[in-house]
Symmetry: C2
Subunit: 275 residues, 2 copies
């Protein structure tokens, strides 16, 4: 994995596992198509919707060196971090913009590729977001989306605190209007957005943390999330968990990271829509 | 996918989905290692444990044309079918043998590669099988295993008959001493078989059926399984299901295969142990 996590302005462990994400580990399903498209047109334009701190956007920009990536996120505060990451990687064919996936600030047919990862599964009306992504995509271009399916998460060993954590996160996600079974629903969302079935390719991918270093990054991020911040506060307010539950979850992740036979994995749904 | 399913002695739909399996779709995680090993030694020996009708064994044999594959199965009745498939594929560097994974009929250090797919997850003591696979593997060779994790199965739409089917199959598997969470446990089983952690590589892979043709093959195989044969009889005898439940499951798969937004996917655990 490319290392974006070692420099001084590192924002802390809550983003650490997000910043392990690259085009190679999180957008591999679309890279061959991207390469074919680039052979025909070396000046591709790509919109990354919900880019966050931009580690995927930056590696996508590297994959289309003659093209241009627009990294967009609803949260304007994350964009300077994405710019730092682009600088660190020496990537210049990228720009950053605040925007809302339901109302993309671009005219029809603006991009050759419109991409998102781990965005739709958090939305109440993901099909509207897909329709909007299709709108800003050029005819002959593609919309590509990859979304986790939280209910496929498998963690081993099954420490009670980890199973409790899974129930908690899935419960919070669904209570907020998202879906803990988003990955498996991607195709149905695309059809609801009026994509033609014959123009949608479906695949599934995985991620996993099982090496000592990866496990520590993953466990630390989740320990920090249950010990402070939005997830903890929201969970306590919702009544889904108690302080004791959250403490148990943090201790379980701490224990898990040190176990030799520990691993965690999850499946993602992936679609490519030919516009 | 390579087509093994069109010839006259086709054994019927209960095996149809098994025979869609090839090294490319079911052993991709080990193919790069195989290629590296073959560059050093073009005369590799490979044991495929629980080879069934041998579609994976045959495509593995194609991947090591100068080597030799031994396709082994507990069920001697399936082996002639595997021989037919090898003939159809024009593969000659393969032999077939009956054998038990707990007591492999080979001396220590017989094979460069010992492989299995969807075998360990059906066993009561999978670690003993892995230890036995390690025994027959040469020093410097590898043991490679890929096992489904049934609890990660995601099917869409979630027709009640399909959810019932999932519960039924997982229940039968666990009642028979297997594990519906085998994929996530592979690493722990390898360590229990005395593999060193530093010599085990863990990965996860997926399969999915979502195209009209693939969906029909999959749905037909499962419809036939609940309408007649061992799964049906075992289920009724166990009391896990009634005839009405089984009818509902068959109708649900029939309906699912025709739905435009239908898909099914599952995650597999994968390990490679360096001997």
């Amino acid at each position: 994995m490319e290392e974006f996590v070692m420099e001084p302005s590192y924002p802390g462990p809550q983003s650490a596992h997000h910043e392990l994400r690259t085009a190679q580990n999180s957008a591999a399903f679309v890279l061959p198509t991207l390469q074919c498209m680039e052979e025909v047109n070396p000046c591709l334009t790509l919109l990354d919707v919900g880019a966050g701190s931009g580690t995927i956007s930056v590696t996508l920009a590297k994959a289309i060196p003659g093209g241009k990536v627009t990294a967009m996120d609803l949260n304007a505060e994350i964009l300077p971090r994405a710019a730092v990451i682009a600088d660190l990687a020496g990537v210049q064919n990228i720009e950053f913009q605040q925007g809302d996936v339901y109302h993309l600030p671009y005219p029809d047919g603006s991009f050759d590729i419109t991409f998102c990862h781990q965005v739709l599964t958090h939305l109440k009306a993901p099909w509207n977001a897909i329709a909007e992504m299709m709108r800003v995509t050029k005819s002959g271009g593609i919309v590509a989306a990859r979304e986790g399916d939280l209910e496929t998460e498998c963690v081993w060993p099954e420490l009670p605190g980890l199973l409790k954590f899974h129930q908690f996160v899935a419960g919070m996600m669904n209570a907020a209007g998202g879906s803990s079974t988003g990955g498996r629903q991607l195709l149905s969302w695309a059809l609801k957005a009026d994509a033609e079935r014959g123009r949608v390719t479906v695949s599934y991918g995985t991620w996993s943390y099982n090496s000592p270093g990866d496990k520590r990054v993953w466990a630390q991020a989740l320990m920090d999330k249950v010990r402070a911040g939005r997830l903890r506060e929201g969970g306590l307010k919702s009544g889904l968990v108690t302080r004791a539950d959250l403490d148990e979850m943090a201790r379980a992740w701490e224990e898990w990271a040190e176990l030799e036979d520990a691993s965690v994995a999850m499946m993602h749904g992936e679609i490519v829509i030919q516009k």
